[in-house]
Each structure stands twice: as C-alpha cells, then as structure tokens.
C-alpha cells in the first residue's frame, strides 16, 4: 500500500511539473525553484507532513521534499538554538544530499568522458 501511495503521489508531483513545462513558458530551472520554495512553504504551514506520512518517498524524493526538509531543519534549529537556527538548520538538514551531489559530480567529471547526444549507437573508438 505504501508503494502505491509513493507511486501515485510522486507521479502526481511529476505530472504537475510536466503540465507546467508543456503549457506555460516556465523553464525547467524556474519549475525546480518553484517546487523547492513551495516545499518550504508547505512544510512551514504543516501541510506537507501528512503527505510525507502517507506517501513516504513519494513525497520526500520530489524537490518539494527537499524544501520540506529545509523547513523541518530550520524549525528544529530555531526551536533549539534561537534565531541563528534560521541560518544553520536548512543546510544541516540537506547537507547529505547536496554534498553527495557535489562529490559524485566531481568523481563523474574525473571518471567519465564527455557526453555526446549525436552518438546514438554505442561509444565508438576515437579515430584521428
């Protein structure tokens, strides 16, 4: 049952994103910013928590979940440490994901060659 909800809710978040791409002039970058900010707002208002409880990863994996996590982190930090928590709580909660993205990106840059969309078949050997 949990997987069904994860699929349905996660899929719905993505389908809404697709509607925005196809029917508005919004660029993908603007859509992602909207998602993350909406996540913060919904998290702050306490609306997102029930969705997470229902759908699990279906609510935490989309970028709104990233925003929700930021809000959750700030709430915890402000409650424990006061005003300074508004500056520390967000990044603390998302540190794992962001740092992982940076580190894996660095490794990918070192390990992999350049991408090439024009190469439809398997990687061919470079010929000079």
């Amino acid at each position: 049952m949990e997987y069904l909800w994860a699929f349905l809710i996660g899929g719905t978040f993505c389908a809404i994103g697709q509607v925005l791409i196809d029917l508005t002039a919004m660029t993908p970058a603007k859509i992602l910013v909207t998602y993350v900010v909406s996540g913060v707002v919904l998290g702050a208002l306490g609306v997102y928590e029930p969705i997470v409880e229902l759908a699990g990863a279906g609510a935490t994996v989309p970028l709104t979940g990233f925003g929700y996590n930021l809000a959750k982190g700030v709430r915890k930090a402000v409650t424990e440490d006061g005003l300074i928590g508004s500056l520390t709580g967000g990044l603390e909660a998302c540190a794992g994901g962001i740092t992982a993205a940076v580190i894996f990106a660095l490794i990918a840059a070192i390990v992999f060659g350049r991408g090439d969309k024009t190469r439809r078949t398997r990687r061919s050997v470079l010929r000079s």
């Binding site: 996660g10 389908a15 913060v40 279906g58 989309p62 990918a108 840059a109």
Partner: protein, 147 residues
C-alpha cells in the same frame, strides 16, 4: 504586406506544433512514480537494517543521487529524460543530474574554472531560493515563538 508583432505572434503560435500532452504527462507520471518507488524501496531497506528514520532518509537521498550520477555518467539519464520530462526533472535524481552534467561538460575548461565554477550553473537557483525561503521561515518562526 505588413504584419504587426501581435498579428505575427498569433500566426507563429498557430504554426508551432504543440507538445503531445497525452504522451508527455503519463510518461512523467509513470517515470516519476517509479523513481519514488525505488526511493521507497531503498528507504525500507535502510530502515530494516535498524537505521533511524532521519538517517535512513538522508541515506536514501544520497543513494538516489549516486544512482543518478552513474546514469548521467554513462549518458543514460538524458536518454530517459528525453521521454520522461518532468518525471526525471522533479525527483532528487534530476537535481543530481543538473549538478553532475555541467561538471562533466565543463571539465575541458579545467577543474577550478570549469568543473568547480560551473557545477551549480543549473542547480544553483534551487539551493539559493530553497535556503532563502527556509531562512525567511526561520525568522518568522523565531518572531512567532518570541512573541
């Protein structure tokens, strides 16, 4: 024959083929939903190992980011994304793809000015406005608690 900008704009709109919504939206739903299910499976796996819910959540994010980085590295993520659209854009794997792909692309401009400087060229705004919104929330929350 002279056309005004708005007349030409209308003409151009009529001639622009529309996106096939009946294809793109279900695909985004399907792929996005599946990525979330993979996330759920990973989350359940960590939980079954006795890891706390918070830490399991973080580990799930890290795992999905890793999977996305590998798929991006092999040039597979963009192939899936071509069909999935927002289905691969909205999940955290899309965020990872947005960080990994410029790192790979701008390697030719060096590790500092290429990879280092351009790594957030796409994903940067997400972090900037996510943090800004959360800091603002923190201030409001503090004011409310103090009041």
């Amino acid at each position: 024959m002279k056309l005004t900008e708005s007349e030409y704009g209308k003409l151009a709109k009529r001639r622009a083929p529309g996106t096939k919504l009946y294809k793109t939206i279900p695909m985004a739903f399907l792929v996005g939903g599946l990525i979330c299910c993979v996330g759920q499976a990973i989350l359940d796996l960590y939980k079954s190992l006795g890891i706390t819910a918070d830490m399991a959540g973080t580990l799930t994010s890290v795992s999905l980011v890793f999977l996305s980085a590998v798929l991006t590295g092999f040039g597979l993520y963009d192939k899936i994304a071509k069909h999935a659209g927002a289905g691969t854009l909205v999940p955290i794997t899309g965020f990872a793809n947005a960080v990994v792909s410029p790192a790979m692309e701008f390697k030719t401009e060096g590790y500092v000015l290429g990879v280092g400087a351009k790594i957030f060229i796409i994903a940067g705004p997400v972090i900037v406005y996510g943090l800004a919104a959360s800091a603002l929330y923190g201030i409001i929350l503090f004011a409310m608690q103090a009041g």
